[in-house]
Structures are given as structure tokens and as C-alpha cells.
Symmetry: C2
């Protein structure tokens, strides 16, 4: 009897007209639908037709002036995912929420509520946010230091897990006869007093189908990797090549043991931008068409923001000024992405213009243009070589790039026996082949 | 030609199995559905069939030990209303959010998002929360003082209105040809620095259909009334008799002028608990049946909490110990309700048991049992005598009490020409016959 094949997990990262910064200018793009519920519901339904594990929404608490050149507006994650939950049945719903600018009690309530509403389909992408511009929207002068942010993040996660696990399965007696609704001895307060938070009471929402959302993490810095190894069930990461991805995968998986976790408890999903064509030439033409739509001023500005240097003072067709960049130690946010861009520019000896084009489609994520068979080959290669447990799909153009993928690549993956043909579970954690860890319910 | 008749506005206050504290014990009650999306969607659809202006959800950030005797759990307001928005078309969606335990930037985003998702149907019930138990869930030792809470609340509202109005109607150019997506000169940051909040940036969600939610207020203390007169478009209030309601209505409406507002800019909706029967006797029997289901220990405890005195040390059938109560000046939260209970007990010379029964159904709100004609008579009487612009409907038992009201009382109100037979507008503000005030968009 054959060993069952390792299964691929797919998450759809939804972003307005697509992940390519020029996507909104494409003739097929409908940027005026960036705040339309129906648009997002349709994307989610397509992903569900493709039997994907989850959809995922990023979330920022500030507006960048780069909106001049790009579709930035997006509906708030919890309200949008809840309205999507109402019209879908299976697909997971992963919301980003920051531990730096939120209160644990609120976040615990929102996820518990969404988990009830969706029948156990929630995931939480835990972020610590970046930049002083966000701090300035929350009555703070400065953003917290990288290290402090992660310490606060860990404490935040501990508090919300206590809140979620505070309700026993059988807390509610609902005894109409005696008039006793709840057994209050089976509902525990958080009773937490730490460095960043004190939260005393119990959650006012009963235990949800998953107890708590699947915990997702997306930082790939040293602190980020440790955080993920200790607490996360899924990690989103940006890896430009399979070799880099294997190194990252091996590194992160090897860290799990120190926290008493087995390697299969954390699923690693690198970002992936596929361009699907009926021929390889058609696929590459699609990629080129989008690259031509990128606005170079946007590219120079966003690259300047990331690399912490004013690139307008350098020739666009000259080399990326690697020697003038700050050192990685000076970088406070998006450390891993900074390193990824520097490595890419150095390895391929890129000019500024070339680096902008190379990253316009997916900010350094793995990009591949080809036929459905070629794309499936590439995905299977990453899967079997220990580079990924699946992918965080980031279509360059939406909805077209998603439609292409679901209609053409998904059947190819299914034919190979590495991807589900039907949902077998009902919760996101079941889709991912995971079970609940770190149960806190026994404390009392 | 006849003057058009003054129109009645109806809001449905949704609370698990109903507003009567014993409702969950009723044979028809389904307390196990307290966290079921479908249950709330059905209630909203019934209210929409009844052409009501809005549904409304209260929201607390703590769990009371009184859950022992009563259904307390409720889904989080934004996630629940968004999932309801997805399956309704007309009805308004009013969420409670506290200005004491939230950040303006988050609240502005959530309402803007829900307003987009629902096509302009949102309302915001602005509360300042009560009690140290809430503070303890947010890393605070004590709840803020009454006066400070309202000062913070006013500043909070100013900040979110700046954020909502920061986007001009024509901020988005979406010019695919030139590559310019937004005219950043038409998107203003809040640029606010006050006593409680500093918020610099602009919202990252474009102007929503209503620009901002209908502003609702529910405090009836002196501070609450001033707050409402200055800022609110709807006020929910608890009035036990028509005479008290007229005094309140006259008082609040007279305060509008000092803020340059006309009296029709604020709709006053007293709470109303109707018991509908085919005969008066049947209606009264329904009320008695629920009163019998109230658990007296719950009543004594919750009354003790409200009156700030341990009533277990007094005989249940003795008089309410009015002389032992603290003075109104010492009360920090629910001041108006404290006064209402004291007045009721004094006026009717009630025992503790009688006060519990009188308030079990609706915590002092106007309660009336009768036929559909009698109930419509009573509602019309309040409307034409200047006691109300409509009602905040609080069915004692859900869904039955709502079904009765929609099936029997609504047609009676429609026959009299004092209630809509079809929705004529699409936004909640239009349902209420209001237009947007306090436009901040001109500042620049």
C-alpha cells in the first residue's frame, strides 16, 4: 500500500485588484470595487470552489501617501470577513490584528464571535505593526521597539488564550426548570497581571467551535521565527527561491522542538504569485503586461521607505547602492523583507529599476509564470523538497489571476493527489490537518 | 389638504431570548441559540418585514456573575451586524461602542466599513460604559468618573467625525491612464491633539455612504442629556409613564437650540415592552407568565447592584429602603436608571418584591399589555402628545413577542397613517427622516 502523499495547503491572500502594484491599471481591473462587499464575497466563493483552506486579509491602521499611485483602501477585516462568513460554508477566514495597537479583551471577543458566526473557520494573523505613522493614530509618539513589540505580542497571545479557554465545554446548564443558566464555577476569569496587560475577568462569549482561531504569524526576522516556533500554527513567509525557502523551512521547523512541539504542528506557507497561461509565452506576456503598468515613482518611493534611503538621489539605471544602506540592526520593522531585497539585489547585481520591477509583482515573494502543468510541477517540487507545506497564494491580478488558478491549476494539483477534491472537515484547523494545542482549560 | 401625520420610528433592541429576565425559561424560548447567527438573522429579517428603522445591539466588555440566572452571552456587535447586513437590504444596523475603552481610529474604521458593507445603514450607540469590572479587563484599576467619561466621549466623537469627513467625495481619481489613483490633497488627516487623544493621520477607508453612522445616545443623566442635545441624532431612554416621557422630551428638545440645532434633528425613542394578545386578558396573561419565571435571587442581586445597597439584608416583602440608599450624587453609572427606580418605588410605595417584578420585564421601561388596537392607541397617544418620536421596541420574549408585534400591531399603525408601509430611503439616516449635520468636510 502506498504512503499517502503529503498534502498541499492553500491560502488566498485577498488584496483589492491584486498583489501587483500596477494591477489596478489593468483593463480587466475594477478598482472602483475596492469597498464593495459583493466583490470580496465573489473572491471568497471562488476560493471556496477551489477548496482552499482559507482567505486572508492584511490590515493596517494608517493611510500611506502612496495611495496616490495605488489602490490602498480596504474594508476592515472583521466586518468584511463576517459578511463573507454569511455567504460561504467551508473556507477559513483569517484576519490580521495587531498586538501593539489593540486590547486583548476586544480581540478575544471578536475572534470568538467570528468563530461562532462561521462555525469554526477563523484564523488570526498576529502582527506587531510597523512605523511611527501608526503610533500617531493611537495617541503615541513612537512605535515600540522590535524586541518590546514581540514581548508585548507574546503576553497578548497568552491573555487571549486564557480568555478563550476560560469557558469549559459544559459551562452552560440552561436548566429552565431550576432557573440556573450557567455554572459559574466553570467559567474562569483571565486573572492575568503581566508587564503589559492586566486582565481580570472572563470573556462574555462562550467557548467557540475552535476554542480559538488558528494562530498565524508572518514575521520572518529572528524574533519572528522564535515567536512562530513557540506559538504559531501557520507561518506566512516571503521566499524568493526554493533554496532560500528550504533553508527557512528547515530553520523554523528545527526550532519547534525546544517548545515541545512536533514539526507537523506548524504549517509553513511561502507567498506565491503565479501567472497562468495556456502556453508559457502567454503566461510570461501576462507578467510583462502588469510590469509595464507599475508606476516608477511609486516603486522608488516604496523601495526608499523599505530600504530607509532616498533613492531619488541615485540614478534609476545605476546599481542599488548597497554600501549606503543602513545595517540590518538599525531596521525596526520589516527586517526580513529588508534582508530579502538586499540579498536579491546583491545576488543578481540589480539596478534600482530592475529591483523595482522584480518586486513590483509580489514584494519579493516567489513568482512563477507558466502553464498549469508547469506551475503544478513547481508547487509540487517545493512541497516534496521540504520548502513548503503549501502556499499563500497572492494573485497579481484579481479576480482574473484567481479564476485562472482555480480553473486550471487546482485540477492539475488534484490529479496528482496532493490537493483535496472535497472539504473533509468543517473548521479551519481541520482543513490544515491540525488539532488544538496548548489547552489551558485544565487550569482552575 | 391635510397636514401629513407625524410618523412613528421603530427600533428593535435585540437581546437573546428577550428583555424579560425570565424569558429564557419560557417554553418557547431557545436559549441555546444565543450564539447562533441564524437566530439573529431571522430576528433582523422579521424587523425588516415590519419596516422598522433599525435593529440595535447593546455591548458590554465584561461578564457578570449574574449569568448564573440569565442568558448573558451575545455575539460581538460589529461581527454580528455585518453578518446580518449580508442577508438584509433595508434595515438599519446600530452597534454600541464605548468611548471609554476604545480607540477612535479603530471605531472610525469599523463603522466606515460596516457602512460600506450595508450601503449606509449604520448607527452608533455611543456609551461610556459602567463599573470597575470593565476597567479590570483593560489594564485599568478604576473606571473613569462620570464627568470625565463624558468629556472623553465628546473628544472621541470629535476625532472620529474628523476621520470620517476627512475624505472628500471626489478623493479617488482612479485614472488608469495616468496612473494616479487618489488625489491626496483631498484626503485630510485628523490632525487632532486634545486632552485624551492625539490622532494625526487620515482614515484608510474612503467616505462611506452615510459619511458617518447615525449617532445614538442612551444616557439620560444631566451629562447624558447635554451630550445628546449637542451631538446625538437619536436618543434611547427609559420612561415609565407618558407624563415622565413628556417632561423628558420637552427638556431634551429645548436643549437643542443652544447648540444651533432644530428640534427635529434629534429623535427621542423611549424603550417600550409590549405584550400583544388577541384580548386584553390574553396579553396580561402573557406578562404574568413571564413574571412568574423571574428568579428572585437574580432580581435581588441586580437591584442591589443598581441601588448600591445589599437588599438581601431587608425583608423581600418590606418596603424598598429609600432612606438607606446613597444619594444620586454618589452614583457613578446608570444615574438616570437609579433615579427612575427610586421615583417608581416612592410613587407607588413598592415593596422590594414588587419593584423586582415591576422592573423584571424591562428594567423600568414603559410596559403595556393589550390588544393590537390598544397598543397602537397607546403608541399614538405618546406620539401626538409629544412624549416620543417613536419607540425602542424591547420584546419581553423573542422571537414570539416580535412576531406578534410585526404581525398584529404594525398593520394597525400603518392603517392609521403614522407608520411607513414601504421603505422610501436606503440609508438609516433617511429612514429616520434626518440629514447629515455638522459637516467637517469644508475644513482644509
Amino acid at each position: 500500500m502506498n504512503e499517502p502523499k503529503k498534502q498541499l495547503h492553500l491560502n488566498l491572500f485577498i488584496l483589492s485588484t491584486g498583489h501587483h502594484e500596477g494591477s489596478w491599471r489593468h483593463p480587466d481591473a475594477q478598482p472602483q470595487l475596492a469597498t464593495s462587499l459583493d466583490y470580496y464575497q465573489q473572491l471568497a466563493k471562488t476560493a471556496e470552489r477551489g477548496k482552499m483552506d482559507s482567505i486572508f486579509l492584511a490590515e493596517k491602521y494608517r493611510l500611506t501617501p502612496l495611495i496616490k499611485y495605488r489602490v490602498i483602501p480596504q474594508l476592515e477585516a472583521f466586518t468584511l470577513l463576517s459578511a463573507i462568513a454569511a455567504v460561504t460554508e467551508h473556507i477559513g477566514l483569517t484576519a490580521t490584528a495587531s498586538t501593539t495597537y489593540n486590547e486583548p479583551y476586544h480581540i478575544a471577543r471578536k475572534f470568538a464571535s467570528l468563530d461562532h458566526i462561521s462555525g469554526g473557520r477563523t484564523g488570526w494573523n498576529i502582527v506587531t505593526s510597523t512605523g511611527d505613522a501608526t503610533a500617531h493614530n493611537f495617541s503615541k509618539e513612537h512605535h515600540l521597539d522590535h524586541k518590546v513589540r514581540y514581548e508585548r505580542g507574546k503576553e497578548f497571545v497568552e491573555v487571549v488564550k486564557r480568555l478563550w479557554a476560560g469557558w469549559s465545554e459544559n459551562s452552560l446548564l440552561v436548566d429552565k426548570q431550576s432557573g440556573i443558566y450557567a455554572d459559574v464555577s466553570r467559567i474562569k476569569g483571565a486573572e492575568f497581571a503581566g508587564e503589559f496587560f492586566s486582565v481580570k475577568g472572563a470573556l462574555n462569549i462562550p467557548r467557540s467551535p475552535q476554542t480559538h482561531p488558528v494562530l498565524v504569524q508572518a514575521g520572518s526576522s529572528e524574533d519572528g521565527k522564535q515567536f512562530a516556533a513557540e506559538l504559531a500554527e501557520v507561518i506566512f513567509t516571503a521566499q524568493n527561491t526554493m533554496e532560500e525557502a528550504i533553508a527557512f523551512y528547515t530553520d523554523v521547523k528545527s526550532r519547534l522542538k525546544q517548545f515541545g512541539r512536533s514539526e507537523d504542528k506548524l504549517k509553513i506557507l511561502p507567498g506565491f504569485i503565479p501567472f497562468v497561461g495556456d502556453t508559457e509565452a502567454e503566461a510570461k506576456a501576462k507578467e510583462r503586461e502588469l510590469n509595464k503598468l507599475a508606476v516608477s515613482e511609486y516603486g522608488i518611493r516604496s523601495l526608499s521607505d523599505l530600504l530607509k534611503i532616498n533613492l531619488f538621489q541615485y540614478p534609476l539605471d545605476g546599481p542599488v547602492p548597497l554600501e549606503d544602506l543602513p545595517s540590518i540592526d538599525e531596521i525596526q520593522g520589516q527586517k526580513a523583507r529588508f534582508q530579502l531585497y538586499v540579498d536579491l539585489a546583491r545576488r543578481e547585481n540589480l539596478t534600482i529599476r530592475e529591483l523595482i520591477i522584480r518586486t513590483a509583482g509580489g514584494r519579493g515573494h516567489f513568482t512563477f509564470a507558466g502553464t498549469a502543468v508547469q506551475i503544478a510541477d513547481e508547487m509540487e517540487r517545493w512541497l516534496v523538497n521540504g520548502a513548503a507545506d503549501g502556499f499563500n497564494l497572492m494573485p497579481a491580478l484579481l479576480p482574473g489571476g484567481l479564476d485562472d488558478f482555480v480553473n486550471k491549476v487546482i485540477p492539475e494539483l488534484q490529479k496528482r493527489g496532493i490537493y483535496r477534491t472535497e472539504y473533509t472537515g468543517s473548521t479551519l484547523r481541520e482543513h490544515l490537518g491540525l488539532t488544538l494545542e496548548h489547552e489551558l482549560v485544565t487550569r482552575s
